[in-house]
């Protein structure tokens, strides 16, 4: 329960930061991404401020045996660069650059009731489901291959 309330608190602070810094506005984000136009540096300041405080959080976490309300930290340990990472980041970047929404701001902006936010979020969820379906079918294909080889 305390962990759930902590997450609600964290999400609320995160959403407040997105709204305060105007990252919730796709036009502001596209202004940063438009390096050949009238460049808007806002996003760089937001990211720098966020990374600074987040880094402090990690520095503290390395001195703790466990988080306050859970039994252990869940930090990804994979350090391997692979083609999925690059392909995924590229596809994400293309979608981000087309509209100016990434997942956090898109979800936070739902509260303002613009149909554009809702349409984007529904499409995003479908995109996530399609990726999962692709992985699942490939895994089944691999299983079938293994079964074939076993039969031979």
């Amino acid at each position: 329960m305390r962990a759930t309330l902590s997450a609600l608190f964290g999400g609320t602070i995160f959403g407040a930061g997105l709204a305060l810094s105007d990252m919730i506005n796709p036009a502001r984000v596209l202004g940063f991404l438009d390096v050949a136009g009238r460049w808007d540096p806002t996003l760089a300041f937001v990211m720098a401020g966020a990374a600074l405080v987040s880094a402090l959080g990690y520095a503290v976490s390395y001195r703790l045996r466990r988080p306050v309300f859970e039994s252990s930290f869940f930090i990804p340990e994979n350090r391997q660069l692979d083609s999925q990472l690059i392909a995924g980041a590229t596809l994400f970047g293309i979608g981000w650059g087309l509209v100016g929404f990434c997942p956090g701001p898109a979800i936070a902006s739902l509260i303002y009731g613009f149909w554009q936010s809702w349409l984007f979020v529904v499409a995003m969820l479908i995109g996530m489901a399609l990726q999962r379906a692709a992985v699942t079918s490939r895994r089944h294909g691999a299983d079938a291959d293994t079964a074939d080889r076993a039969r031979e």
């Binding site: 502001r28 990472l85 970047g93 979608g95 997942p103 509260i111």
Partner: protein, 143 residues
């Protein structure tokens, strides 16, 4: 062209986002990666935090945005994209963030701040891809 945002709002907002990521980490041990948390809430992620935790964080996002617009500033939302572009963008963002294990929050803020090599590479990749697409749509095709 938007009027420029006061620097205090940009930096203040960034500090809040960082504080949110740090508090989620220190209190619950989890990374504030929004694409992963959203997938968890939607029931399309194999691994991740308990459903209630992910749902609480995702629910907080619009709540926080509403609080700022009530008490601090009213953010403008300007979406110039057409419906087909919104659908294409959403599909790509959803598919890409899951394939690449993260988005602007999980890789861009959390991963970069702990100098994860995967996150640094992912962040550079999606930044460059997004800038190239904006260059193509705004300056070559003039959409």
């Amino acid at each position: 062209m938007l009027p420029s945002l006061p620097l205090t709002f940009a930096i203040g907002g960034g500090l809040l986002i960082g504080a949110a990521a740090a508090s989620l980490l220190l209190l619950t041990g989890r990374i504030a990666g929004i694409s992963g948390l959203v997938a968890r809430v939607a029931g399309i992620a194999d691994a991740g935090p308990p459903w209630r935790l992910a749902a609480a964080f995702v629910l907080g996002l619009p709540v926080g945005a509403a609080l700022v617009s009530l008490f601090v500033r009213q953010p403008q939302i300007e979406v110039t994209s057409s419906a087909p572009l919104l659908i294409a963008g959403g599909l790509l963002v959803g598919f890409g963030t899951r394939l690449g294990s993260g988005c602007t929050s999980g890789h861009g803020v959390c991963g970069v701040s702990r100098l994860s090599p995967r996150s640094v590479v992912a962040t550079l990749t999606f930044m460059v891809a997004a800038m190239m697409i904006v260059f193509v749509t705004r300056h070559l095709m003039r959409v």
